[in-house]
């Protein structure tokens, strides 16, 4: 039965081996579900967050995977709107990754809100003055769009496509992909932006507060830029990892290089704007409310090094590596660039959430520290395990890489 579900003409590992490989991930998933039960049953006191440190590991993780998941909408935009047909070979995988990232982020948010049964209040009675209202609406709608985009991939399963109505539905749904890709891009633009903007409007947090560009704080645009810069790198990395684990070529080298190039160009643009933003913030915005650079970077371990690493080591350097045709043609350099780009966006989200809340903003306040509880870590790992399991099943039974069969001939 298992073989009848696998895409025709491609080979996958033996079913027993596949299940054995998944066992550790299912164990992690189980532990996470137990931790989830504890939080739901006994409340958020099972976390180390409090009224002052209200954003912890989960929100950091949400912001990071939502940024990395941007590869889904951006690849869709490049393929369906800008007609970059070389990305047809990775779009299915990018959609699955996007779906995993967004559904995982929403799962973590459901735990984070503390009273999940009232989560729908954020849609029905949103706080019109909070940028989180926009984030909630955009995330919900975009997850819906991703689910709709995932459906045609599922319906291409070998057994399912033998049901004529499924294949007809898949084919017709596919004709609407450019519209869905456009809507996805619009929603992603706003929720990525609003996640950044949410910190940029924090008047009481001089470390996060930024100048306004049009009606949005600068972090609105920086979050969008960094997400679309890191997204293609994340698609590149996951595709490479899948290729290594499965021992198969799944896309051609030029697809890797195109993803790297786009990532590199956007990263350089991001670094430019991030540098300008940081200079304005350190020399104008922050001093205007009585905070100098030393006030922000005088608390170990968050020294000025963290800003340098974010902009230079994880921004400028990968940007330069990826825009260099000579360097990105060499796989180790290409991967180095992609890893650094993804690490850069992850560090930026860490700084934005954790460092912002750690720093004192009043003369009598202390530098806050926060270490997540095992329940928080378990739920974080649960989302990763969920992603690995969903992706593994998708890779095994769905045509994620249409070129795979052709590329693996002797």
């Amino acid at each position: 039965m298992d073989k009848q579900l696998i895409v025709r003409g491609v080979t996958r590992m033996e079913f027993k081996r596949f299940i054995t490989y998944l066992i550790p991930w299912f164990i992690l998933l189980g532990i996470g579900l137990y931790a989830m039960y504890l939080v739901f049953r006994y409340g958020l006191n099972h976390t180390n967050m409090d009224n002052r440190f209200a954003f912890g590991l989960w929100i950091y993780f949400d912001l990071a995977i939502i940024a990395l998941g941007a590869g889904a909408f951006f690849t869709g935009l490049l393929l369906y709107v800008f007609k970059r047909h070389e990305f047809k070979s990775v779009i299915n995988s990018a959609v699955v990754i996007g779906f995993i990232c967004y559904s995982g982020a929403i799962a973590a948010l459901v735990v984070d809100v503390g009273q999940p049964l009232r989560a729908w209040f954020t849609l029905y009675r949103p706080n019109a003055h909070s940028m989180l209202a926009e984030v909630t609406f955009c995330l919900t709608l975009y997850l819906f769009v991703l689910a709709v985009e995932y459906v045609p991939i599922v319906l291409k399963n070998r057994k399912l496509k033998q049901i004529p109505s499924f294949l007809v539905f898949e084919f017709k749904l596919h004709t609407f992909m450019p519209i869905l890709a456009g809507i996805g891009a619009l929603l992603s633009f706003f929720h990525q932006g609003s996640l950044g903007g949410m910190f940029g409007v924090l008047n009481g947090q001089p470390f996060a507060f930024r100048e306004t560009v049009f009606v949005f704080p600068s972090t609105f645009f920086l979050f969008v830029l960094s997400a679309i810069a890191a997204g293609p790198s994340f698609v590149l990395l996951t595709t490479w990892i899948v290729s290594k684990i499965s021992g198969k070529r799944v896309v051609t080298k030029n697809v890797f290089m195109s993803l790297g190039k786009i990532s590199g160009i956007l990263l350089i643009v991001y670094v430019l704007f991030k540098s300008i933003d940081s200079l304005i913030w350190l020399n104008k915005t922050s001093p205007a409310v009585g905070f100098s650079a030393a006030d922000h970077y005088g608390f170990a371990p968050f020294g000025i090094w963290i800003l340098s690493v974010e902009i230079i080591v994880l921004g400028l350097i990968p940007g330069l590596i990826l825009i260099s045709k000579k360097l990105r043609a060499k796989t180790p350099w290409l991967l180095t660039g992609a890893v650094l780009a993804c690490a850069g966006v992850a560090l930026n989200r860490f700084v934005t959430t954790i460092q912002t809340l750690s720093l004192p903003t009043l003369p009598f306040a202390d530098f806050l520290t926060y270490v997540p509880t095992w329940e928080e870590v378990a739920i974080f790992l649960m989302v990763i395990a969920y992603g690995v399991i969903v992706y593994s099943f998708s890779f095994r039974y769905l045509p994620l890489f249409p070129q795979e069969r052709e590329l693996n001939r002797r």
Binding site: R8, G9, V10, T11, Y124, R125, P126, A128, A133, E134, F137, L141, F144, V145, V148, K156, K161, P164, S165, L167, V168, F169, E170, F171, K172, L173, H174, F176, I179, L180, I183, L186, L187, K248, P399, P402, Q403, R405, E406, N408, R409, R410
Partner: protein, 282 residues
Amino acid sequence: MFPWVHEFRWEIGHLIFTGGFALVLVAILTAITLVFKKVYQIYKRRQVEKILWQATFEDFPSQTRTCRHAISGVLKQRVCNNHFECGACAVHKQLIEHGIPEKVLAAAGDYGNMEIFGLNIPLDRMYHRGHTWVKQDDEGNYLVGLDDFGKRLIGKPEEVVLPEIGSRLYANGTAWKVKRGKADTRILSPVDGEVLETGDDEKGWYLKIKPAADNSDTSHLLKSGKEVKAWFMKELERLQFALASDGIGVSLADGGVLIDDLPKSHPDADWDGVYGEMFLEP
């Protein structure tokens, strides 16, 4: 944020926010509704087989989709984006209008009855790219059979499921199904029509079809000797690739003759994958 919720105010900001999201939601739901409507129309107009073929065609690798005119050498290189429906292809129409295929093919000469690497290829019939042939009988009906290449690929099938007499077949839709070992496949119908009679391997044909009154187009079928020869050569090349896929591979000897029952002589090959590739069912 909704008009019936007490925080809502009839202000421009609230209206833009609510209106914007409502618009997006309406666009998504409209798209999904339109898909269902189109699916309903396809069933109502009995276009299911046509759409299934188009959906399947999208999954073919570019090598499989090579245009017939590129195979025969009329064009240097071209990948078909028209589901092999030459009657609706602007390039095909243009070439035919200018008589280009005839000129190129005539210059290369015709071949009469052919034999290519042991394959018997009579030229009194037309060939479909899914390895069936069509021959019109004296009464104007079509006889449909499996070509020699297809026969040797399947060898002696364990099961052949033929359509019921009186059933309607559609060009590029399923004609009959074959099972050999662990692999099964469907054979594509080369023409539209109604099944009048079923045959078997002994008779040399599998179906007798009465051409459909509303569609007797055969422009998608390969006719001339040069074109048919070039296509069979290309198919042998594709078979080489298909057998070599995923490193399970079997290599066909250069200059040899294709044996009668390939699965019997190479039982370990991935025949399921090969059938998918050669009978256009990825």
